[in-house]
Subunit: 569 residues, 2 copies
């Protein structure tokens, strides 16, 4: 399959054969490879030399359950390093189905103009974006789908006002099965990169394209069946279907790692009010258009997503996930699911990462701009982002910027990216991931919470994090959702089988680990050239000094462990 | 001479013998050595592990003309690398006369308390800073001098509201001969480091101390005489006495390197209104308490400083220097010396670097917050720093932060520090200095404007910048003012003679270059450990792409030149 190159200066689209070294990579691994090959590591992330990449995973395009994820990538304006953020929704499937190995959005208009790009099997067209400029993602998506006469297969990737304004916590939104633009490739500011290219939205219309060819259909179909059974049989799948990722609230609270009031406590006294059980009741009791067990991608059997209704029963946000509940709930001292859902909806509409924005609001409370728990004040601060005030702009750049400008030493961020919903002092393996991942602080780069270790023991976390990071980099390269991993872990042979069935390649049994390690190797090479050293592989100093209740533990994994983790890579 | 260690957590002061490796260094070189030896390179610059250093130059303490400068140092919260900023005034002389090789301010209060430290020959005392907290530097200095019953030798180093609030463009102010706190160790945010230590001011009372011992008084005195004659004979000395550094306005304008309207032009159509001649007339015509030819240090024979009067003839600011005139004048499209002097006075009172603040205001105009040339709007923006609004805070963090948050790609900064008053596209050797100095963009780290080369030729600048950087690092280690170098350049033998006369050391003839190279070697070692690589030794990308009128040149010194400049160091 070729790659599609979209030049935003000349407004031309060209296809070219995919280089050999790119063909055996997809998703996150391909993003790293393309950045190394095409983007000068010292390039201004918001300048013309950066490239915005859309790369479906290697196994995307077949409606394999939870395996159609899209990786968005580029040099990050938040971390100034390699960046991949992936999302569910329709985009991964649609790009693969359109027959593109990846899409590269290059250069930028020299006249400040804004565009919508529409890609169908016949052609790629550019249309001035003026009618949709300044709109939030919800309204823009609705109008764009209407304008382009969307089919049930149409995919849409777009940015909100945050991306248009170059806010560095801006993500790229993708529509889900319902056409709602709530699947965010949220982290690292890729929405700002999209904005820097004068690109408000990309519409993908794969209707009319035949299914992707299979080199060995029988092997593929058999592996698919085995994988799906393993996935459905896993007890965790049922838990996610029932409670969504919010199930994690109580688990993290028990472990003492639930970010509370700007990471000053690891347990929230009102955790049960924002728990998975509470959210489920919240949705069911309103008996409106809310839903538990909602799928973000066609064919997903886990359905961890949900639709949270407002008091009138109308959809307010979908999905409300654990990380948002933690960063915009307990981390802000807020125990009101309606307020959290509304903060989430605003963030989605602006096109902002809820993790970095939630952490930024926590930092703003620490700075005295508002008081923890006052949900209306938090909402008013988010309103300032809509109003584009200096403070609003600051918050929209995320926690690290906010802490820097407001003078808050207690800022939770690594490589400029906010720490996610697992305090590294209580779940230290994930702390190792935050410190050493080329992506900056990111739980999806290698969450260790399910590892059977003492999460407080600083001596055992290195190998735990390393393994988790390698596996996640592998899954992200395949297009596999983090929760689909429960299935693949029980039927690991199906991964090489699916790749053989799809492409006819001879792949080793440990292909997942090999892809993961190769991906991290490429990412580190890019970061090295961009100026990263071991000095950047650190948890914020204050977290190594300030004990976290209730365990009163600090992050004390030795620097040597962090420095040696990827010494061979 | 011992070092004095001041611990701000325990409020104790102790002296200890100066380590051998520190004894042969002073000023900037000693700052680098201490940082390497005592500060973890990855330390949070505003955390307890950073050390604020006051290090007089090796030749300070003798009232040698223009050789009593004080180096202030620490890990920079602006660049996150090594930082030394030096100033005239009384501090260098007083610390040397008190008999300290250097002063280290360590740790920070754990209760948010604020202190003034008073050092006399007998003892060091700590007093709560409450009566002076929040005061601008002018009022604080006046009240502190009054409170402590200052003598004509009393020195005072203090911060303004900017340093108290941790603003990263905050400097450390020192009083001059008149007791006015206008000699700023301005660059790199050392005022914020001082603030992070809960230290509002340091009072130095050397009265009663005997002159420093001389190993070979005759050699010292003879060299002093030779040096002074060479300095007074140099024609440039007379120019500085007559016009101050403002003489540079017309020179830079002619070269097409005068920053104008956020570095969008290299010539300002009203340059003559803000020139050295205009400033001289401005001062003389008012016939009040203004002055040309004003000395910042006792014994200075150059007297490049001035006192700029307000329309009523009262002192408004002292000194008004070229870099401030450029960054707060032409760079803002402002041609009114009264307005520029007032902006300067506000910056001094807040305790802010005029270069970084001027550049930040230029970036703010670029972002549409005000229009170039509207001096009252610029003053109103600076008022927001007094008012501590989010926008005010942002500006106080300097140009890089301001550009980042406001989304301005055309931001002039290297390693987070604003580019000074010599556009690197027109004076490319100084551009090499900006890119490769361990200090971040800083003209005083190696100005090349007087080198006899074609400043536009990208092929010849490497050696020019290297030589200038080595010499300046050497002078900064000795405590020598940049303008005293005119004298030493004509009588280079006096430098080893003065060191021999003072210390009795056997020093090689090229001791200046050796000290300079050693200093840069130490600084680069610290920066390397702090995470700096060649990727950081770059001029902003947009300056390599956007031609600068009138020469329409870009910064095109090859990356290989930048990468190889210190390859041997």
């Amino acid at each position: 399959m070729p790659i599609l190159r979209i030049n935003m200066r000349t407004r031309t689209a060209t296809t070219e054969p995919t280089p050999l070294a790119w063909q055996t990579l997809g998703g996150r691994g391909l993003v790293a490879r393309i950045l190394l090959d095409r983007v000068p590591a010292t390039a201004d992330p918001l300048g013309p030399r950066n490239v915005l990449i859309f790369a479906p995973g290697l196994l995307a395009g077949h409606r394999l359950s939870s395996v159609d994820r899209i990786s968005v990538g580029g040099k990050s304006p938040l971390t100034h390093g390699v960046k991949e953020a992936n999302a569910g929704g329709r985009t991964g499937w649609a790009i693969a189905r359109l027959g593109y190995h990846a899409i590269l959005v290059e250069d930028q208009p020299d006249d400040g103009s804004w565009w919508v790009v529409h890609a169908s099997p016949d052609r790629v067209t550019f249309e001035p974006a003026d009618p949709w400029l300044g709109l939030g993602t919800y309204e823009a998506a609705e109008r764009l789908l209407d304008h382009y006469g969307a089919s049930s297969q149409t995919a849409l990737a777009l940015i909100g006002p945050a991306g248009e304004r170059g806010l560095r916590a801006a993500g790229v939104a993708h529509i889900d099965q319902d056409g709602v633009p709530s699947r965010m490739a949220a982290r690292g500011g890729l929405g700002a990169v999209m904005g820097s290219k004068g690109l408000k939205a990309l519409v993908f219309e794969p209707a009319g394209r035949a299914p992707l060819p299979l080199a060995d259909p029988q092997t593929f179909r058999q592996a698919r069946k085995t994988y799906l059974r393993a996935l459905l049989d896993h007890p965790q799948t049922k838990i996610y279907e029932t409670y969504g990722t919010a199930a994690m609230v109580q688990m993290c609270n028990r472990l003492g790692g639930l970010p509370t009031r700007n990471f000053s406590q690891g347990q929230f006294e009102h955790a049960e009010r924002i728990s998975g059980e509470a959210l489920r009741q919240h949705i069911l009791q309103r008996d409106g258009q809310g839903a538990t067990a909602h799928a973000c991608m066609a064919g997903c059997s886990i359905r961890c997503s949900n639709i949270v209704p407002d008091p009138q029963g109308k959809p307010l946000v979908s999905p409300l996930e654990y990380e948002t509940i933690a960063l915009m709930g307990s981390n802000l001292g807020i125990d009101d699911l309606d307020a959290i859902a509304r903060l989430n909806a605003y963030a989605n509409d602006l096109g902002l990462d809820t993790i970095d924005l939630g952490a930024a609001l926590g930092v703003a409370a620490e700075a005295g701009l508002w008081r923890f728990g006052q949900a209306n004040r938090a909402l008013a601060l988010v309103q300032q982002i809509y109003d584009d005030t200096p403070l609003g702009r600051l918050l929209g750049h995320g926690a690290a910027q906010t802490g820097r400008v407001l003078g808050v030493r207690r800022t939770p961020a690594v490589k400029g990216q906010a720490i996610s919903a697992y305090d590294p002092r209580a779940i230290k393996g994930t702390g190792v991931t935050y410190a050493t991942s080329p992506q900056g602080a990111d739980h999806t780069a290698g969450l260790t919470i399910r590892a059977r270790v003492d999460h407080l023991d600083p001596t055992v976390q290195g190998p735990v994090s390393r393994k988790a990071q390698i596996l996640m980099a592998g899954y992200d390269t395949l297009g596999v959702c983090i929760f689909a991993a429960f299935g693949f872990a029980r039927a690991p042979e199906t991964i090489p089988q699916l790749l053989r069935g799809r492409y006819g390649w001879e792949v080793p049994e440990d292909v997942l680990e090999r892809l993961g390690l190769e991906t991290i190797r490429l990412e580190r090479a890019f970061n090295r050239a961009a100026g990263f050293t071991r000095a950047h592989d650190r948890i914020p100093e204050w977290m190594t000094q300030e004990p976290l209740p209730p365990h009163n533990s600090v992050f004390d994994v030795p620097d040597e462990v962090l420095d040696s983790l990827w010494a061979d890579v």
